[in-house]
Assembly symmetry: C2
Homo-oligomer: 129 residues x 2
DNA sequence: CAACTGTTATATAATATGTATAACAGAGAT
DNA sequence: ATCTCTGTTATACATATTATATAACAGTTG
């Protein structure tokens, strides 16, 4: 599992960790049941504070992507969350904002849809390759 | 122009204003050349501070969505910005995160694409209706 | 017992967000 | 000229978020 963090980004570090792990699960670089590094080892590896990693893990736990056993550690959930209403709300709100700006800038529906298709396909290819 | 702001949201107020105006331009509720309310009148209308509105206007100005004349006021740019690399970068990054979570949750490519198509179409319908 | 888990607590610093108040410069209206 | 309206700038303040630092606790494993 490779973390490509940008400490200068406006995106919080803990959010970048959350995104990276969800991406890893989507592409099956991280498989259900697979253990994740401990908060201490991961924070030491990427040179940040323990609590920043812990915050990311707590978010992933609350969203159902990982299971945390207090002594055993953290692992990818064997039963990943489904398409819940809260996710659909976030998806719709984000897509609405992106689409509005795309329309203002003259990006065609076909070009936008193609982008989504391409990203989805690339992720599914990584899943097998 | 209707602003539906949520002061309890985790999304900053100035960002909600930016999103609302870009949405208004996309749906042509706001037309190129049309004047926007002054920072003072808008902030008074929605009951927030002048600087919060000003911050939103500055962002829209830097992105090319509005023109600001120091004495005349703010208006929608008659030459809206095109599909610039910085926008494509943001679009790709956001779509990547949304798609990764969608895949984890078992949302099919068809369902995701349909969402995008639907949102795009609804916005183009508002543009005419 | 020692080493490792996640968890909790406290403290500190920097940044982001939002408000409050005031002043400035330029344009237009009366 | 005076008044009012623009955006702009400055200062100050309060709060929340982000990130770090250090320490301790409880339970498991070797």
């Amino acid at each position: 599992m490779i973390f490509n963090l940008d400490l200068e980004s406006e995106v919080p570090i803990y959010q970048q960790i959350v995104d990276a792990i969800i991406y890893g699960i989507a592409t099956r670089q991280l498989k259900p049941g697979e253990p994740l590094p401990s908060v201490r080892s991961l924070s030491a590896d990427i040179g940040i504070n323990m609590h920043t990693v812990n915050k990311a893990y707590q978010i992933l736990k609350n969203d159902g992507f990982v299971l945390i056993h207090r002594q055993k550690g953290v692992m990818v959930n064997t039963e990943l969350p489904g398409v819940e209403p809260s996710f659909l709300e976030k998806l719709h709100a984000d897509l609405k904002n992106l689409t509005a700006e795309a329309i203002c800038r003259g990006l065609s529906r076909e070009a936008l849809v193609e982008q989504v298709q391409k990203i989805y396909q690339q992720m599914m290819d990584e899943r097998r390759g």
